[in-house]
Amino acid sequence: MSMRTDNNENVSGLTSDAMNADYVSLVVADQLFGIPVLNVHDVFSPKNLAYVPMAPLEVAGVLNLRGRIVTAIDLRHRLGYPPRSAGDTKMAVVIEHHGEPYSLLIDSVGEVLSLSESLFERNPINLDQRWRDFSEGVYRLENQLMVVLQLSKIINTSNGAKAA
């Protein structure tokens, strides 16, 4: 529950209205995810991704975003989805974690949603173990559910202790 409170504090600064939170919605393998809008620095179509050998598997590579070197993390891999096939679209959202820029590779990016807190719900008890770590909670949207991603958990991967 404490996590939830943290989120409230975090989000309160970002919301236009005390009860609403703004999220950038994004799609990975047909699932809708949300990232607090103020955490998103950039959205772009990734090009020239340089492969980094021996890197953790979810690291798709590094790329140059307007002079900054950004580490790309493939959310498909991170969330346990099969890799995208050649024809699939690919987008990237840039977030910052401990002052370092990271880009999350996703399938597509959706609109910014301003969501009422009443739609928010904690992780259902039977949620996949892997997802339970990444997910902060779920918004019940009209047609689908949107999972709010915990960015620090997404990025702090194998060497979490180090980066922390």
């Binding site: 020239n48 340089a50 492969y51 980094v52 050998p53 021996m54 890197a55 953790p56 690291v59 590579g61 590094v62 790329l63 140059n64 002079g67 070197i69 580490t71 993390i73 401990h98 370092e100 990271y102 990025i155 991967t157 060497n159 180090k162 980066a163």
Partner: protein, 914 residues
């Protein structure tokens, strides 16, 4: 003007300006604690610095002002106009004194007693505290300043960020800590005067700091263009930021250039060219701001050397050349300690005592020379001494006793290789541990520190003449020149500094990648260079598309490039698919998530906008640690069948049939592969023109034909002038194992079968082939094989003969123990081991064969054991002397038949006698 002084003037003038302004604020608002604290701190800093620099007049005035301010702060004094104006007046006095100081570079004689008295009057007169302040009294003054200092240190109540020009307390503290304190000075320079009013640090304290700092600009005469106006203090952080921005600019410029290059005729060409120039200039300019003369790292050295002179009773002249050679301050910081260590080392180990020097015909005063200069983007620092040079013999002993290499391997090391052992951990040649050095730590740390910044260190030594250490370090760590290479379709940057050369290797060219088992090697100028495939190191074998998946060793591309790389003294080759251009790159740290990957030192953006990973040669060398270790192990464990029957390296090959065959690797001089058309036939034998000689080729039994087409692998054995080639099918591997022949063979040319690496392997008797190849080498074929097992001791300092003779003797039915010198032989005797026959070389280092025989004959334990002398000398006088000292027989080394015969006769005789 002294750097320190000019810095002080700049700093203090800035502080005084701040104080002036703050005091005015303070007068209006006496309750503003933060303003007061700030003033107090600044005045305190000035006072402290004055004392430190030996400026008693300034110090006294500042101290008196500080007293009052301190009382304001403690609430012991109420703020009055009178008091504030007095402080302002004292600030003016300080300014005046500063101006004089700036003009004359020293404090003018004079007296500010009147002002100080007034200040003290204010401080004491209205003081509510019972203590009457008399700052003139030494004890109280010292106590006061201590108090004040404590107060300053405990309560850094500055609640605003430091303004430019202000010195934080930490900085001040650091300055105090780094400067030689009063204690140190007293040690060095006997201070006769008792410590009184002015603390003793004054003049003597400043001296050692000044000593090596080159006087730069001459003092400006005109008051207008004062030193303090010529320099601006900029925080290092700001410079770092600036550097980062410039790096970005450089990258963007590179990108633009790349874009425009693709277009033939562009309007951008001209402006871009200018942008290029300006960027380069800007880059150089910013780099310069980070540059500091290397002399800054040398400042403490004269003092250290001076102290060492006393401690070691040596006379040392430290010469420093090129102190103004500039390098990046980041690099400078990193080499400070290694340099200091090396100077200590030179003084302690390198230079001899004056008496020894005179005896050696040298000047009693030893010279340590530090020389720094630029060379092609690097800074070279040479540290030379004219001492005794490295004691290679002692290093060798140490290396052997430390178990780094075996004795036999040590024999084959070049002097240079031995000298380089001083950079290995745990090796000190100092006979006794002194307080300065000799603890066996140090040079390895020096090396690793230098390697950390991409530098190298090397040593050259001439016995009796001295040693030269050469350090090569990059000018800066921020922008480096890098070679762009490709492996498995991915590009990587390789710092140019560690690249020695590039070799193109293909099957058709002179350079061809060969394999020993799976390990790729390259022949490069008479040396084998171990290779690693970059795609293997980076585990990218399966990166390419399905068609290329699993690029196996055999399916490698024919055309490859070898980047010959040096890490420390370890040289290896990195095999890449392609080599592109070199490019100036800005090293950026990798994201934390990737920081664990040791093979990358950073990443960067190339001119075309792509991100590229920068390889770390150290990391690569480490990640293929088995290579590096392997090489060292190879040195460690060479073939010598010693008492404990240690593991030896065996070269495993195939020839005639599938079963592997082996010979001790140490017997093999070279591995060759020749074109079969080069093989000629003469006198019924196959011969080959090899290095200006005719080399006979021999075959193992059952080996049908030497190939007539294609290429023929050969094992080359050499002894002195004679060279022999053994034709084999394939070289399989090098295996470390015990050579224990379990099944003796009756086939000529095979010693028997041993289990090597768990596989039954035929051990080839090289001596048989030597006979086959050179009928004059040994005149008789082997005989006397079957006999009851006799125990023979072979004493020979030459690894070749130990390796060659011991299988020979063993095959004659003896159990052989080999030792490498007479002392070791006697040690065996002391252990109570009994031999049936002793075979000893005559010429050996240390105790020679004659002496050994005398020793043996003197003692009962081995007194009756026959001793056969083997020697390359075969004069009658030698024979005579040998008999006199107790040798039973005397054979010429090469005369294998005679040796076996002699053994047989003597052992039988001995046996009958017994």
């Amino acid at each position: 003007m002294d750097d320190l002084l000019s810095e002080f003037l700049t700093e203090t003038n800035e502080s005084l300006d701040v104080i002036n302004a703050e005091l005015v604020v303070f007068e209006k608002d006496p309750n503003n604690k933060s303003v007061l604290d700030n003033i107090f701190r600044l005045v305190h800093t000035i006072k402290g610095t004055c004392g430190f620099l030996g400026l008693p007049r300034l110090e006294a005035v500042a101290h008196a002002s500080e007293n009052i301010l301190g009382k304001f702060r403690d609430g012991a004094l109420t703020v009055s106009v009178e008091a504030v104006s007095l402080i302002l007046q004292s600030i003016d006095t300080i300014k005046l004194l500063m101006a004089e100081l700036e003009a004359n570079e020293c404090e003018m004689a004079g007296d500010d007693q009147e002002l100080i008295d007034q200040l003290n009057h204010i401080a004491s007169g209205k003081s509510l505290a019972p203590i009457t302040e008399t700052p003139a009294a030494g004890a109280t003054s010292a106590k006061d300043s201590q108090d004040a200092q404590d107060a300053g240190a405990i309560k850094p109540l500055v609640d605003r960020p430091l303004r430019p020009g202000e010195v934080s307390l930490e900085d001040l503290e650091a300055a105090f800590n780094s400067a030689p304190g009063p204690d140190e000075v007293q040690d060095a320079i006997p201070v006769t005067a008792p410590v009184l009013q002015t603390p003793p640090k004054a003049e003597p304290a400043a001296a050692p700091i000044k000593s090596s700092v080159a006087d730069d600009a001459s003092p400006e005469k005109s008051a207008e263009s004062s030193v303090s106006n010529q320099s601006v203090r900029v925080s290092v952080d700001l410079l770092e930021d600036l550097m980062t921005v410039v790096s970005e600019l450089v990258l963007t410029r590179n990108q633009l250039m790349q874009l425009v290059r693709q277009q033939e005729d562009s309007d951008f060409n001209l402006p871009l060219q200018r942008l290029n120039l300006v960027t380069t200039e800007l880059q150089e300019g910013v780099m310069k701001t980070r540059m500091q003369p290397i002399g800054n790292a040398w400042q403490k050295l004269p003092r250290i050397v001076r102290d060492l002179c006393h401690e070691l009773n040596k006379k040392i002249d430290l010469q420093m050349i090129g102190a103004d050679t500039e390098l990046d301050r980041q690099v400078l910081e990193l080499i400070k300690d290694p340099l200091t260590h090396m100077i200590r080392n030179s003084a302690d180990h390198g230079l001899e005592q004056p008496e020894k020097r005179i005896a050696a015909g040298k000047q009693p005063v030893g010279i340590i020379k530090l020389n720094a200069f630029h060379e092609g983007g690097h800074v070279i620092i040479k540290i030379s001494d004219d001492g005794a040079g490295l004691n290679l013999e002692r290093i060798k002993q140490k290396v052997i006793s430390g178990g780094l290499v075996s004795e036999s391997e040590a024999d084959s090391l070049s002097e240079q290789q031995i000298a380089n052992f001083i950079f290995k951990a745990g090796l000190s040649t100092a006979e006794q541990v002194t307080s300065i050095s000799g603890r066996g730590v140090g040079m390895d740390v020096v090396r690793s520190n230098i390697e950390k910044i991409g530098g190298t260190v090397d040593v050259r030594t001439t016995p009796g003449k001295g040693s030269v250490f050469t350090i090569k370090i990059p000018l800066t760590l921020a922008i480096v020149s890098a070679l762009v290479v490709e492996a498995s379709g991915e590009r990587f940057a390789m710092p140019q500094l560690s690249v020695i050369e590039l070799v193109r290797a293909s099957d058709n060219s002179e350079h061809r990648i060969e394999r020993l088992k799976q390990s790729p090697v390259l022949r490069l100028r008479e040396q084998l260079l171990p290779l690693v495939y970059l795609s293997d190191v980076l585990q990218m074998q399966n990166r390419l598309g399905a068609g290329d998946a699993g690029v196996s060793a055999e399916a490698r591309k024919n055309d490859e490039y070898v980047v010959v790389t040096q890490v420390g003294n370890f040289r290896f080759g990195i095999v890449v698919d392609r080599v592109f251009d070199t490019e100036e790159i800005v090293v950026k740290p990798v994201a934390p998530i990737l920081r664990d990957i040791s093979v990358f030192s950073g990443n960067t953006i190339l001119g075309d906008g792509r991100v590229i990973m920068i390889l770390d040669p150290n990391g690569i060398a480490e990640s293929c640690g088995n290579i590096r270790d392997g090489q060292e192990e190879e040195v460690l464990e060479s073939a010598s069948i010693t008492e404990k029957s240690k593991k030896i390296s065996l070269l495993v090959f195939r020839a005639s049939g599938a079963e592997p065959k082996a010979v001790p690797l140490s017997l093999v001089a070279r591995l060759e592969e020749i074109d079969c058309t080069e093989i000629e036939h003469s006198n019924g034998r196959d011969v080959l023109q090899y290095r200006g000689q005719l080399m006979p080729l021999v075959r193992v039994p059952g080996y049908a034909e030497i190939r007539t087409q294609g290429r023929q692998p050969l094992l080359v054995f050499t002894d002195g002038q004679r060279t022999m080639g053994l034709a084999v099918d394939e070289i399989v591997d090098i295996i470390e194992d015990e050579l224990k022949i379990e099944l003796h063979s009756e086939t000529a040319g095979l010693l028997g079968t041993a289990s090597i690496g768990g596989v039954a392997t035929e051990v080839v008797d090289i001596s048989h082939y030597l006979v086959e190849a050179f009928t004059d080498w040994f005149n008789e074929s082997r005989k006397n094989r079957a006999k009851k097992i006799q125990h023979a001791l072979l004493v020979d300092d030459s690894p070749f003969f130990r390796n060659m003779l011991s299988p020979l003797i063993a095959s004659a039915g003896y159990q052989v123990t080999t030792v490498e010198n007479a002392e070791a032989a006697l040690a065996l005797r002391d252990k109570g081991i009994v031999f049936d026959v002793i075979i000893s070389d005559i010429e050996m280092p240390g105790m020679n064969g004659f002496e050994l025989a005398t020793m043996i004959r003197k003692d009962d334990r081995w007194g009756q054991v026959p001793i056969v002398a083997i020697s390359s000398n075969g004069t009658e006088a030698d024979f005579e002397r040998g008999r006199e000292v107790g040798f039973t027989d005397y054979v010429v080394k090469m005369d294998r038949g005679a040796l076996l015969r002699s053994l047989a006769e003597n052992v039988i005789i001995h046996g009958e006698a017994a």
